[in-house]
Symmetry: C2
């Protein structure tokens, strides 16, 4: 027995397929009809191999229900190279902001919601500002008093 | 950006770890505390590489809420060699039956619930009864009238 995928219920199949493929970068690998009348669309992340299924139950089919936001699906997590960049891209692609990017330890995190309200976590290694990276790489290039001071400030942080 | 895992909220962490490792066969790969006070336990299926995170928020922490059963997490799917066998094993291991195993096309399916009520789908190729497998493999061995009749019946199904 092996864990194959997580299936989430969606209320607008076309909207969710667009969101999870175009905005979140998953690939559609299969689609079919359940005998009970629902529709499933299997998505896969080609890099991580993680799978997500979208489940849609039209009004009048056996498993249709009024959509209730519950506790059981805490979040879907996406690992990002640059959380702040991904966050902006996702908002432009239809995600709703929940918590703006923040740093915690050596990580940057943010939360958005998918079109049905599902929380999506963005997490990635904290990116140091370019100036700090430069100082670290070439510490001997800062020779003036002011730049030396700046260099110390950076080290103090 | 890549899809890393699904996180589900659990109300009794120890119970859920036991259920998903001992009964469902996942391995615990990491565990930690969130700055906001919650606890996360990362699980992985060593065969399929699919990941599941358990999220536990103690009473009084930022993200604690009364557990509400909602629509968004439709189900977690597990691929089985023998659905009927896995179904029995899961019930013995604390799963609650929702839909008993049934055949649909060339597949066998069943649904159970995890300790918090999350639907778990068991799906696997339909296993043909031993007698039918034998008839298919050695059709010339059935020479008597009755066994010939039986052989036709099998083909009719």
């Amino acid at each position: 027995m092996k864990f194959k995928y997580t299936g989430i219920r969606v209320t607008d199949l076309k909207r969710s397929i667009e969101f999870y493929t175009k905005t979140m970068g998953l690939k559609q690998v299969q689609r079919g009809k359940m005998h009970a009348g629902g529709v499933y669309v299997q998505l896969k992340d080609k890099e991580s191999q993680q799978e997500l299924e979208l489940n849609y139950y039209p009004l009048g089919t056996k498993f249709y229900e009024e959509y209730v936001e519950g506790s059981e699906l805490d979040h879907l997590a996406f690992l990002c190279e640059d959380v702040r960049k991904s966050y902006k891209k996702l908002l432009a692609g239809g995600a709703i902001s929940v918590i703006e990017p923040w740093d915690e330890g050596g990580w940057t995190l943010a939360f958005v919601r998918d079109p049905d309200g599902v929380w999506i976590e963005l997490i990635g290694k904290k990116i140091k500002p370019a100036s700090k990276r430069k100082n670290k790489k070439y510490p001997q290039l800062t020779v003036s008093d002011s730049s030396l001071k700046e260099s110390f400030n950076v080290r103090d942080k």
